[in-house]
Symmetry: C3
Subunit: 447 residues, 3 copies
């Protein structure tokens, strides 16, 4: 995929050759987050936020067990210290210490000697992928279980086994991480990513790391819009945040759920339920100039937290950016989603794409040409090549499009879309024309 | 074509293996209607209605000769007892008794000895299909004629011939058959089919037989909408019915002209003049799930009685369902459209498709989710699989679509269309959600 | 490309076989205009208008140097008598007399002995097309220069050279040619073509000649709409006309910029900024029936005078018809655009297409069928074939479309578009139906 990043570079320069690239920095952060056992509650989330906080201050919101959020209730807090299946000599056959995926998330504690026939109903494998450990959860149904590879299972024999899950499921709280960077206007751009998945690099250490970098870079660069970044446990976390901020969700003028951005697949953008909101148009415009073969898919009530942001009574303009969509690659929700599955290059490209989308939203303006009848004579303003028939340096086509469509109704994004010119060129042309007094800014005041 | 029929089966079970299939029953009825010589008036129509009345009560409307209906006038009634061309030894060369197509419909009586040169202008053949008898009419131009195969004509010699048409063309009446099954609401679904064609199995014994079965089965099953079935002589019959019911046509909320449904071609749905009425959307949705390669064509003022229902001052939402469209298959309007041209399987598939379209219209509802903000927790209502990552029996995607789009504006058909899920699954999901108290019925009261 | 011309022939017959074709007449006119050195001002324009005036009276508008037109100012008038580069023996190496392209348009006078190194910055070639002379201008930047082929340049040696441009650049006026043919209504159809290009046959002797023929033929035939034809120097000419007629531009109800119509490429129609104005729909309809592979392209603010007519504060419904678009063929803006590059056949086809587009606009009407409910019985009015099943001479499908869609809202062009029937057949059907009293003319009164 070709590197664009014209916009991103204005927010914050992407590292030059010779330096450590920002992609490598993100990859390193992914590596630190990877081993932690996260779930929808518990210390794994808090430890993750602590590491992310090394890059930018993150506010923690703790929501107590039992609190009602819309149709849901904050569950008990789950914490796990150790878990294993061992033979009676104490040799661990399946060991939580080796991979946090080995325990079904939210497993109740167990410590018992049992035969394979007793144990088997609690074991989860991927029959068609004999080397891989699956990822399983049982949040709202009290149960326990282990996930292991089919190869491990087949080598286990009949037992007896010592089975232990040293976990607690007790009243506590659910933790959300929130960053808010106030801009010049109250309208917010939301970036939301889920923090509940254990040791999987792409799903979702990639989203967590990129979100932290975006926030840190945006804080340094400064945006016109306010920026809100949420690290939420999937579903229950976004519901809880929405319930707590019910009177303020109107401020979310544009939003992106981000996840699964480190693999080698092309980008996939899923439209908001609104279908053609500004965020949708900005994302489509940026991705279409990104190279590769980006897929643009319609909204469906399946996926990540966009399901909640786009529920009918909220209907927020929130789309979703991923690479290979969830459930459509063999490594999905398994131990194959490890650190080798993500790359610095893919992570950096994703950062650039998201920053470009944010820039399009943030830098969009609506102008009215001061020459409504006929074109202005660009040469008078030093904006024309000197000998006709030879092309100049100024993006003349972009200037002509801006002049022709700037009737006070079309924004720069509208003009970029209709003309097929990159937003960056349209904005450059508009800046030149505005500087020459040929455009009047008639953008609606937001916020 | 794959058998769907999920909806039809609820209206009335389609016969199971081992029994006589409903398709065979329809085919048998086609076989009984086939020999009768029908025209736009006369006893052939009445005899046809008598046979159809063995399946369901049919009201006859007799409209007297000379009555004006819009721009038209009810013609004299035509009845025919016998017709032939014979040699002077009385041997019949062309015999109406062998095939009712042999006489041009509405031929005035004739009984005369004539040479081939006198007779020839009254003979109609299909030059390129030497075995086939064409179908010809001369309703509004007093004339007489015989239709025969080119082979018959070439074997006739120079004559002289005895030419006889024992017919009467006298004041009488035009006959329409009407079935009305009142539903819970005054809004009607109209099924209209033409009853004026003589011995052709597909055009239109197929439409007549299927319409009778639909009415009989709907009466047993019960519909929310009222159902009106019309057996009308083509053009003049629908015009007469519309003129007589001019103040009540607004009740026709959805309609289908059906004909030519027994051949082996894929379905063809012709949209109403409105283009995207509920009937159009329901038909497109059902046919797209039917297998085969259904064709959806735009309205044109050519074809059957949809021309009248869709005239500009009525503009009723009436589409048309056929298989191979009229005029586009070699057997069209000829003796090749005989009983071998239709099959029980094709007839039953057509019945199922029409009943499914009716069911979509009849069972469509508009709901509002009781959880407008955020999804409900389906597990609380027993509507969720127990271990995440394993699929359950409930059509979860359909439930999520219904919940997400049920904002009080989208009906189940809208949801089926946007989601690409079959209407039957969307309705099943809606029933489950409604049963759990998660949906409120906000359908507009009709009628 | 197939010849249509059904409409054009009604305006004015296209010459029959045996006669001199109108295409040959246009080609002959192109040949007379070709040698003249035109620019945005000066006697070349006036001489061109004199020749065109042999076909139809043309009003000249002289706009004085220094007058402000919107953001622009009428420049000094440029006239050139002679120009050459010669060796010191007086042998001309580059001679304006041989081709008016040899001098950069608007060159200031020069007469000097200079070496190649001094001269070279003033020489323009096409490096990749060694035989061709480019076309260059320097209207708003005082400069001088010569255009020549690369081969000429390479043969020139180091000089010294006598360099002479015998031109004047002095206060004078800019000349516009205008034809106005009043019709029955005040709404105008505008044909605009640029008159500022020197010796290039396609760009734009073709447009000039065709425009004159269209005006002359329309004057003889008579139109309902008023017709205005403008011969304008590119950009500054249309701006000047628009500025002078600022209060009257609303009368331009439909417009076409025409140019480059004599080459062998298929037609290219560029939509107005409005995108789907009546002129756009008429052009698309006519071209789609023209044969060949016409291209329909969206508006962009690049090209000819449509840029000014479609500036945001005017936004006139003006499209553009060319064959191969400017800049997309190798002969563009060079000496290869000579008389061999255009053909009588292509010129005549273009005339026919434009006249057909004008005819669709001019002959469009909106009717209301007097039978809103049900079809009328065409046989009563002598408009039906006598024996059903055999096709008659009357375009029955066109009649049925007109009857069905004539609800007072659809014009004949709307009906032609929706039905896919040629406008000429739809109009013929409408005339027959109107003659029989079956249609009432409910066209909005224009003007």
């Amino acid at each position: 995929m070709a590197r664009q990043g014209a916009m991103a570079m204005e927010l914050n320069p992407i590292s030059s050759a010779g330096e450590q690239t920002v992609g490598a920095d993100i990859e390193a952060l992914v590596g630190r987050l990877y081993p932690i056992c996260r779930s929808i509650t518990g210390d794994g989330v808090r430890k993750t936020l602590s590491i992310l906080s090394e890059h930018i201050a993150i506010r923690r919101i703790e929501i107590p067990t039992g609190m009602e959020v819309f149709d849901w209730t904050i569950p008990e807090e789950w914490n796990i210290r150790d878990a294993y299946i061992a033979d009676l000599l104490g040799r661990r056959i399946v060991d939580f210490g080796a991979n946090s995926l080995h325990v079904v998330s939210y497993s109740v504690p167990v410590h018992q000697i049992m035969s394979m026939s007793e144990l088997r109903p609690h074991l989860h494998i991927l029959p068609d992928q004999p080397d891989l450990i699956p990822y399983r959860t049982s949040y709202y149904n009290r149960n326990w279980g282990f996930c292991l590879s089919r190869n491990q299972l087949e080598a286990m024999g009949d037992g007896p086994f010592e089975v232990r899950i040293d976990a607690t499921l007790e009243p506590g709280s659910l933790t959300i991480g929130e960053i808010f960077i106030p801009g010049e206007i109250a309208e917010e751009i939301l970036i939301s990513t889920h923090i509940c998945h254990p040791s999987m690099a792409n799903d979702n250490c990639s989203g967590l790391a990129i979100a932290a970098f975006i926030a840190a870079r945006a804080e340094r660069a400064g945006l016109r819009h306010s920026l809100r970044v949420l690290f939420v446990p999937g579903t229950i976390g976004s519901l809880a945040w929405l319930a707590l901020n019910d009177a303020e969700t109107w401020r979310i003028a544009h939003g992106l759920v981000i996840t699964g951005l480190g693999d080698r697949g092309d980008f996939t953008y899923k439209r908001s339920r609104l279908g053609n909101a500004r965020i949708d148009r900005a994302a489509v415009h940026v991705l279409s100039g990104c190279g590769g073969d980006p897929k643009i898919i319609d909204f469906s009530p399946w996926g990540y937290d966009e399901r909640q942001y786009c529920s009918p009574g909220l209907n927020l303009p929130v789309g979703r950016l991923t690479r290979s969509p969830h459930g459509e690659f063999p490594e999905y929700h398994s131990s194959a989603d490890d650190l080798t599955f993500v790359s610095a290059e893919a992570l950096e490209e994703a950062l650039v794409a998201i920053e470009d989308i944010i820039a399009v939203i943030d830098q969009d303006r609506t102008y009215r040409s001061t020459n409504q009848k006929g074109e202005p004579r660009l040469g008078k303003y030093g904006l024309y090549r000197t000998v006709a028939g030879q092309s100049g340096k100024v993006p003349e086509m972009a200037m002509l499009w801006v002049l022709n469509l700037s009737d006070g109704r079309n924004s720069l994004l509208d003009i970029a879309q209709r003309s097929g010119q990159p937003f960056s060129e349209i904005r450059m042309a508009a800046d030149a024309l505005h500087g020459a007094g040929l455009l009047e800014d008639v953008s609606k005041r937001a916020g």
